[in-house]
Structure formats: structure tokens, C-alpha cells
Assembly symmetry: C2
Homo-oligomer: 160 residues x 2
């Protein structure tokens, strides 16, 4: 059975293949403006409605890395949660995200390396069920056996 | 000779292997707070100094996706610039970025696919010359031969 979790602070020992967690957010115009400011990415396809109208996208689109950031939100706050060290991420940008779209980032455990305490997760962002970003994440997960800070077995059971 | 460019709006026909462009930004506490807000990534390692002090990082660190966003800034505003369509990105997170660190994202053309009008770029973010994020980007570049909007040959020459 695949378990959906969401309370974070999960030990490596409590992960299993198929576990998943999600984060959803409606992308607003303010999000795009803030992301442009914080990243410096002033590409007019994000900010200039008249320019964007003339592109293949026929209108303003969100920064792809904004959706990628939602993946990091799942990994760093839900599954496995705080204490996780982000090692690598692959991203394939499949479709644009527009103002008003609700993006759901879902991370699902694909494989576990018990020796290195590493987890590989499938990472997908969808809008209306259609993938907009796909890829995989590789993370280093806190381990109870190594005495690292993560949930007690009781807490993990409650989260599951 | 490797050409350093930075004016954006570069046509596929004007790209060559070895061309590169960079974007630098000092990561401030405000950037981290804004990135947490816009992404929803409230991992305490970014926001909670007392928690972060107890982790392996011994203090607050920036979101890895913030550095990744600087790569997107180079691709979308400098090389190749507006009109570029982001297809894929790989990211290996090598070291943490701390408040006050100046991150330089550099993209260098590795390979060009003339048939598909695609470019592969090496993408590296450094702090003090040391890599913090490494990877590759795959982008679809506007083409003069296809009549798409990109720089005239004169403009491209001026940018080179």
C-alpha cells in the first residue's frame, strides 16, 4: 500500500517505496512579480503582457523554477521533511504555467539506498492533472540509527 | 575564442560552442524570506536560526532553488535570452549558500543541435569561485531561418 504522508521529520528508516506527499499552490500575478524580483529573471515572457502575447505561449507564463521550488517545498517540509539534504534534481519542463493555474507538486519515493541513506523520488508538478514539470530528486535523509534528528517511531506511525 | 555575451535576444544561428554569460547576486536575508513566501518552502533550515545552528550546516542556508533560479535568469535574459524555451535542467547541489554569499551563475554553450534548434549549456553557480550548483540546461532557441524574433546579425555582432 502506498502511504500518503505530510508531517515531515521522517527518518530514513521510516521511508518506503511508494510513499508520497504533495503541495499545491495557485500561481498569482504577485508570485510571478516576486519571483522575478528575487531571482533577477526579468524575461519579458513573465512580465510584459504585450511581448508575451506575441510569443508561442500567447500570454505571460510563470518562471519554470517557481514550479521547481514547489518540489523543494515538498522535500524540505513534508517528505522526508526538515533535515533532508538536497543532492540533485532533474527537471523536464513539459508545459507552461499561467497566472491562476493551481500547481500540485508531488514527490513519490522510487528507491532507497540503505547504505548511503539516500532516497530517489519521482517529482511531478501538474496543473489540472497534466504534467508541467517532471523529474527526479536525490536526497540524503536523516537516520535514526545514526542518531540524527528525525521523528520518533511513534510520530512516524502517526504521520503515516 | 570563447565569447562572453550578455545582451540577450540571440538567434540560434549566432550561438557557438564556448559562448558564455553570467549573472551575479548577493543573497540577502530578504531574498530568503521572499523565496520562502513565494515557494511555500518554510523548511526551518532557511528560516529558524536556532534550529539551523544544530544542523550539519551550522546556520541558516538559502534555498537551493534560489541559485537554480539564477541559472534561469542567465538563460532567459542573457544567453540565449528572451524567446528561449526552457526544456530541461539538471542540478547537483554541491555546497550550501549562506546569507551574504555572492552567487555567480554562468552558462556556457556545450553543444548545438542545428536540426532541432536546441542548445545544451553547462550551468554552474559558484560562491568565491567554488561550485555550489552544477548541471546542464537544454533549451530551444529562436531561429532567424524560421523567421522567429531574435537579434539581427548586426545586433548579435555588437553583443559579441
Amino acid at each position: 500500500m502506498n502511504t500518503v504522508v505530510g508531517n515531515g521529520f521522517i527518518c530514513f528508516e521510516d521511508l518506503s517505496e511508494g510513499m508520497s506527499a504533495s503541495f499545491s499552490r495557485t500561481v498569482t500575478e504577485s508570485d510571478i512579480v516576486l519571483f522575478a524580483g528575487v531571482s533577477g529573471d526579468m524575461n519579458p515572457v513573465h512580465l510584459d503582457a504585450e511581448y508575451a502575447q506575441k510569443t508561442a505561449f500567447k500570454g505571460r507564463i510563470a518562471h519554470g523554477m517557481l514550479s521547481a521550488a514547489f518540489i523543494s517545498t515538498v522535500l524540505g517540509t513534508k517528505l522526508p521533511g526538515p533535515g533532508t539534504i538536497y543532492l540533485a534534481q532533474s527537471l523536464q519542463f513539459r508545459a507552461p504555467v499561467r497566472i491562476g493555474d493551481t500547481v500540485t507538486a508531488t514527490c513519490t519515493v522510487l528507491a532507497l539506498d540503505a547504505e548511503k541513506k539516500r532516497a530517489t523520488l519521482r517529482t511531478v508538478c501538474t496543473v489540472g492533472g497534466k504534467p508541467v514539470v517532471e523529474g527526479e530528486a536525490l536526497v540524503l535523509v536523516p537516520s535514526r540509527s545514526a542518531g540524527e534528528a528525525c521523528a520518533s517511531e511513534g510520530k512516524a506511525a502517526a504521520a503515516a
